[in-house]
Symmetry: C3
């Protein structure tokens, strides 16, 4: 996993409201892969200088997702199996059928998983950190890797 | 599909923060139907005059959903089948049973699909447009049509 | 169900933008339990003095969820059965296996349900009330009770 970053864009009113935007990239290594991006998001929030507000995360790819869960090895294996069963790869999809689709990736299952889990997540910023419960980690899910992936991060607040 | 619109409500601080709200209506034609509302949402964002911020979409109906996915005919057929199987129509639900419920629409499956996919979606606004990846479209899903449906759109930003 | 509350934290710009944060607690009584928190959230929104904006709800626990649906007894029974079937309790999970995990709650199913339904929800505030459709209620779902649970509520707006 490697990470790159574009420069920040920041808009600010004279009374202190700030909106900071940044795109962060990851390179994934497996077809289905779960990444703990909590620390990376907290870095971006911390650098924004915003103390209270909202951080919005939006993965820019339909075959990915962003969500919360506990970061524990055994549970992550369960999560992968759960998602494999919720949208099985080895069944018929029109999207994978050359008669109906020009998609050559056979990734209909990846689309179902991404749609089910969602690509957009808002979290509160309190005291310059992302507000998370004791067991909550921010997880980026790759469902059609390996690929280069981008998450747009926007922090709005005071 | 026809579209109507209520007048905008806009609040603005003296330093430029704007909050614009609008309700947009659609009339659907099928029991389950997927609509690509990306262009319509971009129109509303563009007219708001807000360059950077967040657009929040909220469908006002429990038997609908708003989410992201690729807009491709073959995939949309797969999405419909996926949701039909995730919450099957032809099984027993208390909500459809006159002994337990006064609902006459027999739409428990529609409720499960709406709940699973969600009715609330936040997306970033960058340079006066909704930020979307190459393959991301904003999809409104009707699960209990045909009906008249309303989505509340709120844009907050600078 | 009992409720307690921490004091508000409020930040405000000189031109009126306000961000109000509060944590509200519930004590649940069953392993799986659905609570209608609409009125409680509307109280917090009303006290914030914010007329237009966004209310963001974030449950601070991975084995819970916050989502919208109709509040009807028969339907709630269907919702519980739907979620029980979507992530079955009585099957093998590594997270429940002492050979792979130090979790003693055997709550992998609770994690799957929480992840599937999500712990973060944004809703619009219009005229000092949460904007909801006629049949939409805000539901807090407990998937691993009985426990004491906290939801962080943040209202941003004018």
């Amino acid at each position: 996993m490697s990470v790159s970053e574009a420069a920040d864009t920041t808009a600010e009113t004279s009374t202190g409201l700030k909106i900071t935007s940044r795109v962060v990239d990851w390179i994934t290594s497996d077809r289905m892969q779960l990444l703990n991006i909590t620390e990376r998001i907290n870095d971006v929030v911390s650098k924004s200088g915003i103390k209270n507000g909202i951080v919005h995360l939006q993965s820019l790819h339909t075959t990915t997702a962003v969500f919360l869960n506990e970061w524990q090895d055994a549970l992550l294996e369960d999560v992968k199996r759960f998602l494999e069963e919720a949208a099985q790869r080895e069944r018929y999809y029109k999207h994978n059928d050359p008669e109906h689709s020009d998609c050559e990736r056979s990734n209909a299952d990846s689309h179902m998983r991404g749609m089910l889990m969602g690509q957009s997540l808002s979290l509160q910023v309190r005291n310059a950190k992302v507000l998370l419960g004791t067991w909550q980690s921010i997880i980026f899910a790759e469902f059609d890797g390996p690929r280069s992936r981008s998450i747009a991060i926007q922090i709005t607040g005071l």
